[in-house]
């Protein structure tokens, strides 16, 4: 099978989410990549070095600068003339583009796969917020798949010797325009690739307290910062901090859940973390049912002490 993997990037560098998708694609067959963007030749060169990669299709055009699905989908459909599977990381970009491609190809997308099973076109994927795992087999002639990043190892970023090949632009569809973006600039590791994450819940009281309690611990551990939906809804931190069914799905080496009770929607986003550390004043909080290390007590005393002693 010949696969085409969507390379997630910012027109400068390849984003980590791509690497898990490459690993998933490798289980299906030959791995080709698509770098669609504007002034993104350096991304294609970098992508060509990813281990196991064959051809890198480079579509460099102003119409692709912001990866608008309306412009990108026709390009992918063209390339799918000689590929058997289109594979995207299950990022907001991938989730935006892949179904548009699938519908144009008249195939049913398989969302958020956790594994590639033996036999042709069979995969597992989470349903009901990860409360159940479905095994599904496609009967479509071509596959369109999004890949859950935490379920696959990341491909090595070196050792590959792909060849970059320019492809003609399919142009601007004239349906949508990019207006602006507000991307939080942070020195912190991104949530979906951080080795350690420190997350806070509603118990943090307000935005100021969240900053005072959570951030020093995160700084000490060089950790990404996350939050429960309750903390985001209460305005302690921006939306993109949210870990959970409808937020980010993470699986770091260590996940600190601080003042988070552990609603199923939150657990759906972090229960595959290697080690879960919970600090909560309620000893019956569901978070303790999944935590490897739990400490019952007042987080306002415990967290500063922990920060100091680490």
């Amino acid at each position: 099978m010949k696969t085409l993997v969507w390379v997630e990037h910012d027109n400068k560098t390849v984003k980590d989410a791509t690497l898990a998708a490459v690993t998933a694609a490798g289980k299906l067959g030959e791995v080709h990549l698509l770098v669609a963007g504007s002034g993104c030749a350096a991304v294609a060169d970098e992508a060509a070095k990813i281990a196991g990669v064959g051809k890198v299709h480079l579509a460099d055009d102003a119409a692709f600068e912001h990866a608008l699905a309306e412009n990108v989908a026709p390009l992918v459909v063209d390339l799918m003339g000689h590929h058997d599977a289109f594979i995207c990381p299950a990022t907001t970009t991938g989730k935006n583009i892949a179904p548009r491609v699938a519908a144009l190809l008249d195939v049913m997308q398989i969302s958020d796969i956790l594994s590639v099973e033996d036999g042709d076109k069979t995969f597992t994927r989470p349903i009901y917020a990860g409360n159940a795992i479905a095994t599904v087999t496609s009967s479509d002639p071509k596959l369109v798949i999004t890949v859950r990043g935490t379920a696959f190892d990341k491909a090595e970023t070196s050792g590959g010797s792909g060849t970059v090949e320019a492809v003609a632009s399919t142009g601007d569809a004239g349906l949508s325009t990019f207006v602006s973006s507000e991307i939080a600039k942070s020195e912190r590791p991104e949530l979906t690739s951080a080795k350690i994450i420190v997350s806070g819940g509603r118990a943090l009281k307000d935005a100021e307290t969240f900053q005072e309690v959570i951030i020093p611990l995160a700084d000490k551990l060089n950790a990404g910062v996350g939050a429960s939906r309750a903390a985001v809804d209460a305005g302690y931190v921006p939306n993109d901090y949210q870990v959970g069914q409808t937020g980010k799905i993470v699986a770091p080496e260590a996940y600190f859940a601080i003042g988070i009770s552990g609603a199923i929607q939150h657990l759906a986003g972090m229960k595959d973390s290697k080690v879960i550390i919970a600090i909560n004043k309620d000893e019956d909080a569901p978070i303790f049912q999944v935590a490897d290390i739990g400490l019952v007590g007042d987080l306002f005393k415990i967290v500063p002490e922990l920060t100091e002693k680490l």
Partner: protein, 248 residues
């Protein structure tokens, strides 16, 4: 301008799904069902646009079993004007739902189609994007704010790392994220009024759509259960454990 709002009947947000012992699926017998929460947000947003004088009619649509009429009545009680049920007891995948919705949109000619970004049962996150593709129209997915501006709709989208604003030429498809709004509760008088609103029942065949599934689900299982570890007595014990694990 008309707004079309597709809604899905799903297991209630607060119910913990139970996997059937024979691996055939999730047990939905005697389980509370409700409108998919993201679709509720879509209905609310459509109503707000109408209240702002920028839409004339809101049409709620559902593809599903006869009981999905209840879901449509909820949308009508919230403020939708009329409803269409495309009745089927089969599992209809997002691609086929999108095809049915396209056929309805071809008849109704809405300026905006507003739907939830994903249903909380199959978690596919596909229908809106697929519908946009089939109609050849723009898509504003994961909307955080929606603003009608003449013949365009400006959508601020929740993306990894922050927010992105796009401008779409209408007719356009918008899918809602959690923080777009807080849906209203239907008042008792409105629930009564909703019972008299028009609700047409159709079938997928009326639209010439083949709903045969493309994916076969061979097994549904419980996810691996994570075992609880141990509680430690104090911070020193926690630090020692973290060090032993190489985390600190």
């Amino acid at each position: 301008m008309k707004i079309l709002v597709p809604v899905k009947r799903v297991i209630d947000y607060n119910v913990k799904p139970r996997v059937k012992a024979d691996g055939s699926g999730v047990d939905l017998a005697n389980v509370k069902m409700s409108m998919n929460p993201f679709d509720e947000i879509a209905v609310e947003e459509a109503i707000r646009i109408k209240e702002a004088g920028k839409a004339d009619e809101i049409i709620a649509v559902s593809v599903g079993p006869a009981k999905a009429q209840e879901t449509l009545r909820t949308a009508l009680a919230m403020g939708a004007d009329r409803a269409i049920l495309v009745e089927t007891d089969d599992t209809v995948e997002p691609l086929a739902v999108a095809k049915i919705l396209k056929a309805i949109a071809d008849e109704e000619q809405p300026g905006l189609i507003m739907l939830g970004k994903q249903a909380i049962d199959d978690d596919s996150n596909q229908t809106g994007q697929m519908l946009a593709a089939l109609m050849g129209r723009p898509q504003g997915t994961f909307a955080n704010t929606v603003e009608i501006d003449g013949g365009s709709v400006i959508v601020k989208r929740e993306i990894d790392g922050g927010l992105e604003t796009v401008k779409l030429t209408m007719p356009a498809i918008v899918t809602t994220d959690l923080r777009l709004n807080e849906p209203r509760y239907a008042s008792l008088p409105n629930i009564m009024k909703a019972k008299k609103k028009q609700l047409d029942v159709k079938s997928p065949a009326d639209f010439g759509v083949d709903t045969a599934p493309r994916l076969t689900t061979t097994n549904v299982s419980e996810p691996p259960v994570r075992q609880a570890g141990e509680k430690v007595a104090d911070v020193d014990a926690m630090v020692a454990k973290l060090k032993a694990l190489g985390i600190a």
